[in-house]
């Protein structure tokens, strides 16, 4: 089979999906499986690595190579894989707790290294698999079994964290908008460095409709700030509002007519950071789309070729040469 003939079915494993009915992870899985055939990468050259959590189950359902690893460590495992094999297309699927709590260290370091992998954060703002405790992205005041009096912690924003870590591709999308999700994932797939995509994901069981402000049609019309490279940053039911530059520096909401033009390729991530900081991620308005998409040196680029080249003809003579290095003497 040539890669041109691939279909969605080629990326569906025979394992039964086990998420709760209505879980946003179904839509994410379907979008990814729908996108993979068009990328022209054979299933055997694609690898999915996940951590632990509901989102971590993703790996079992995609008919490529895959490893369901341990909680938070998938980016590290993926980095090692890339170190040995830059000929593969490597995807990491993570939850908000997996990526930002236990695995936060690996996330920021793989981002600053720009390891060529696509990392999806299925953000349901809750710990799903462990049955509903706050996650690092839960809002202040959130009541859960571990926070009966409401969370006293400020949430972490994945987009801001990624931008601050030197990420070269940063985007946000939402599970209920398949077209948007596919478009963002497609751009991520084509990004040569590390791409991180936050996917607002519903957890009907433990955090139902937490993203209703961007998924309900009427509310979304008011709350979704669409980021499109080269286009004015406008939003509002009639597109009447815009993100505008303040005379003294900084951004604010203002008139559509004064809206700034979104430049995802800007070398300086300051504006992307500022756009993300406007509004309220929990209630809107909130920006969706590609915040940043820039080129930077890719970690381990060409390493497979170099390793291969250095290995040509390597044999016993090289071992002996190694063993005989330095001062030697002979005992008769």
């Amino acid at each position: 089979m040539t890669t041109a003939e691939l279909t969605k079915a080629d990326f569906q494993s025979d394992q039964e999906t086990r998420w709760c009915p209505g879980c946003g992870d179904y839509a994410i899985l379907s979008a990814v499986q729908g996108l993979l055939p068009e990328l022209g990468v054979a299933p055997e050259n694609t690898v999915f690595i996940s951590g632990i959590g509901c989102a971590g189950r993703f790996t079992y359902y995609v008919d490529t190579y895959g490893m369901h690893s341990i909680h938070g460590r998938a980016p590290a495992v993926a980095t090692g894989l890339v170190a040995a094999r830059d000929d593969l297309s490597v995807w990491v699927v993570s939850g908000d707790g997996d990526a930002l709590s236990i695995g936060g260290n690996h996330l920021i370091h793989s981002l600053r290294r720009n390891v060529p992998m696509k990392l999806l954060i299925c953000n349901n703002r809750i710990y799903g698999l462990t049955k509903g405790q706050i996650s690092p992205t839960s809002e202040r005041g959130k009541v859960t079994k571990s926070t009966p009096e409401g969370s006293v912690e400020a949430p972490l924003d994945p987009i801001s964290l990624a931008l601050g870590s030197g990420a070269t591709f940063v985007a946000r999308t939402v599970d209920r908008d398949k077209a948007h999700m596919t478009e963002v994932l497609r751009a991520a797939a084509h990004h040569p460095g590390m791409a991180v995509v936050e996917i607002l994901q519903n957890c009907p069981v433990f955090n139902d409709e937490h993203h209703i402000h961007v998924t309900d049609k009427a509310q979304a019309a008011i709350n979704r700030i669409e980021l499109v490279h080269g286009q004015p940053v406008r939003f509002g039911a009639e597109g009447e509002r815009g993100v505008v530059a303040l005379p003294g520096g900084g951004l604010a909401f203002g008139d559509a007519a004064d809206a700034i033009i979104h430049d995802a390729t800007a070398a300086d991530p300051t504006l992307a950071f500022a756009i993300n900081g406007l509004g309220d991620p929990m209630t809107g308005p909130v920006a969706l789309g590609i915040f940043r998409n820039v080129q930077a040196p890719i970690w381990a680029e060409g390493v497979t070729a170099r390793l291969k080249a250095s290995r040509v003809g390597l044999g016993d003579a090289d071992i002996d040469a190694l063993l005989h290095e330095g001062n030697t003497w002979t005992v008769a």
């Binding site: 055997e44 090692g80 170190a83 190694l322 030697t328 005992v331």
Partner: protein, 622 residues
């Protein structure tokens, strides 16, 4: 260019011949004692002696000058016969300052020689070392042969002919002066050191000439000054096997072992590590070897490092991670994952004194229990332990072989002593290195699906790496159904899989132990890891008393050699010396129900021949 000539005629004294000598260089950590010792060891190796060295560094990079905490030392034991340890008590201590004297004097026996840099015994330095009066004058060194040399003055004078040398450079060459003097005292060839200086300072003629002048001055001082006493010579060793030798430490050999295994197996080597004493030099050494198909990664922490190594293994490379105790704690979860996945992984633990940060630069072998059992669930894995700097080469290859062929994480135990001490090494030949067969599955099975958790007769599973068409499959930390590898929470399946994983490890082909036994021996001395040298030397001492003894050493801690139980039961007494609180003895008592006597030591230094001798005599009631 000036050269140093050994004056064989000119003087009328004949060097006195000795069978073995122990020299300890000690000074402030900025005094270059490791360098002086290392050069002395190289010259000694080239002179054909057998030798063993013991570097001892402070944990601090630059402790305040002249304090006890800043003392760094290097001990070398060399002989005209096969030796096993860096020696217990030095015959001569070179003390570059009062703190070095104070920190080391306790290890000397009366009658030993002490060579001090008199110029460093200032009021201030004495005070910092905690001396109220100068030990050089207050009689506290009575019974030792003390030689006082004005080293600072001597190097300053020697530097007069070297144009452009700064005061600081001159001060820093004192170690080379001391090296020259001690080299004369023990009749070491100067050419080796001289060549080294010429190479090292090729780009800086001033430093080259300065250090050559200091070396020459030290040599000349020995020759002319009667105070130094007679020259001592130790003839070349005559009882070591013939062949090509090289002086190596256990870090170099371990790295060569990894490289050899990688070349032999045809697998790319990926080492990921987070810096930690005393394992860091493995990362350093391998990072220079890009040309050998090696990639090294300095990870963000030890968890990432082992994750990266596992990821590389998953991609078909030889994934290795190296660390010490605190890093081992962090890696446990990922090692368990590797047990579950059944992927090759080599985890190197260069043990140091614990718990917690413990004594980072000191010796211990107290991670054995952690290596054997330090994971949740039933997670057995092979454990291999290196026993000497030279043997670390074979141990590394063995760890790689088992990891690759049995698809399992392997813990390779080294330690601070093996990593840093040196010994002459009979250089092996590539042809003698065992083959390592990765044995990847590349074809779609004719009879249907690829079963990633099917088993061969050794219970080993097949591996297909990403990129292999048609064999896509998923692996993970959840329990798997036998054969298919699909997730399974079935109890009986889990029990079967646990037994299969355990059975695979238990069935690994490890060689039987060989026993070096005297006829009629009633006591067996059993060791593991770097206690090998001290045990060998201790046993030799007991044998010299005419008492028969048996000795054997373990390199495989899991699985244990098949004949071990029988060997243990065939002696009236078994003595097990180890540098921990008795870990292996507990394991073996449980395994074989043999009443093993334990000799333990947690003093942060290698075991000594004398304490082994005493322990054996005690066990025998002799």
């Amino acid at each position: 260019m000036t050269t140093v000539e050994r004056n064989q005629s000119g003087t009328d004294h004949q060097p006195e011949e000795r069978e073995s000598v122990i020299v300890r260089f000690a000074g402030d950590s900025g005094d270059g004692m490791q360098l002086a010792g290392g050069r002395f060891a190289d010259a000694t190796a080239m002179a054909g002696n057998d030798l063993a060295t013991l570097p001892n560094f402070p944990a601090e990079i630059r402790a305040p000058a002249d304090t006890l905490g800043g003392v760094s030392s290097f001990q070398i034991h060399f002989a005209s016969r096969d030796i096993a340890t860096p020696g217990d008590s030095p015959n001569i201590l070179v003390a570059m300052n009062p703190a070095a004297l104070r920190a080391n004097i306790g290890d000397l026996e009366k009658g030993a020689a002490i060579l001090v840099n008199e110029d460093a015994f200032t009021k201030r330095a004495l005070m910092k070392a905690g001396y109220e009066t100068s030990p050089l004058d207050d009689g506290s060194l009575d019974g030792f042969q003390v030689t006082r040399v004005s080293m600072t003055e001597m190097v300053t004078r020697a530097a007069e002919d070297v144009e452009g040398a700064t005061t600081r450079d001159i001060q820093k060459s004192r170690n080379i002066f001391a090296l020259g003097l001690v080299s004369w005292m023990y009749d070491r060839p100067a050419e080796v050191t001289q060549k080294w200086i010429e190479g090292k300072f090729a780009k800086s003629p001033v430093l080259r000439d300065l250090n050559l002048a200091a070396l020459r001055a030290g040599y000349a001082y020995g020759e002319t000054a009667e105070l130094v006493g007679t020259q001592i010579t130790v003839p070349a060793a005559n009882d070591v096997p013939p062949g090509l030798y090289r002086n190596v430490n256990g870090t170099q050999t371990l790295v060569m072992g990894l490289l050899a295994a990688s070349i032999r197996s045809g697998m790319n080597l990926v080492l990921a590590a987070y810096p930690i004493t005393p394992a860091t030099d493995i990362l350093h050494e391998l990072s220079r070897r890009g040309g050998h198909g090696v990639r090294t990664i300095q990870a963000e922490d030890e968890i990432a490092a082992v994750g990266m190594a596992l990821g590389a293994s998953y991609g078909g490379a030889l994934g290795v991670t190296s660390t010490s105790g605190p890093g081992m704690d962090l890696k446990a979860e990922t090692i368990g994952l590797a047990v579950m996945l059944e992927l090759p992984l080599v985890v190197i633990d260069v043990q140091r004194s614990g718990p917690s940060t413990g004594m980072p630069t000191k010796q211990e072998q107290s991670d054995l229990m952690m290596a054997l059992y330090g994971r949740h669930g039933e997670a057995p894995l092979p454990v291999v332990a290196a026993s000497t700097p030279g043997q670390a080469f074979e141990a590394a290859i063995e760890a790689c072989r088992i990891a690759v062929e049995y698809r399992t994480p392997v813990i390779l135990l080294s330690d601070n002593f093996i990593a840093n001490s040196t010994e002459p090494w009979l250089v092996p030949s590539a042809a003698d290195i065992p083959a390592i067969d990765q044995n990847l599955t590349t074809e779609i099975p004719a009879d249907g699906d690829f079963l990633p958790y099917a088993r061969d007769e050794r219970l080993v599973r097949p591996i297909a790496i990403p990129g292999t068409p048609g064999l896509q499959h998923r692996i993970g930390g959840l329990e798997k159904e036998e054969g298919t590898g699909n997730i399974s929470y079935d109890g009986p399946n889990h029990e079967r899989m646990s037994q299969i994983r355990a059975g695979k490890i238990a069935g690994i082909d490890v060689p039987d132990v060989e026993v070096d036994a005297d006829e009629g021996a009633e006591v067996l001395i059993l060791g593991w890891g770097s206690s090998a040298g001290a045990i060998r030397a201790g046993v030799r001492r007991v044998r010299q008393r005419g008492i028969p003894v048996a000795r054997t050493h373990l390199h495989h801690l899991n699985p244990l050699p098949a004949n071990l139980g029988e060997v243990l039961r065939s002696y009236k007494q078994v003595l097990l010396p180890e540098m921990n609180a008795g870990q292996l003895s507990k394991v073996l008592r449980a395994e074989y129900l043999v009443d093993i006597k334990s000799h333990t030591n947690l003093q942060g230094r290698p075991l000594r021949a004398a304490e082994i001798e005493t322990a054996i005599l005690e066990v025998l009631g002799a």
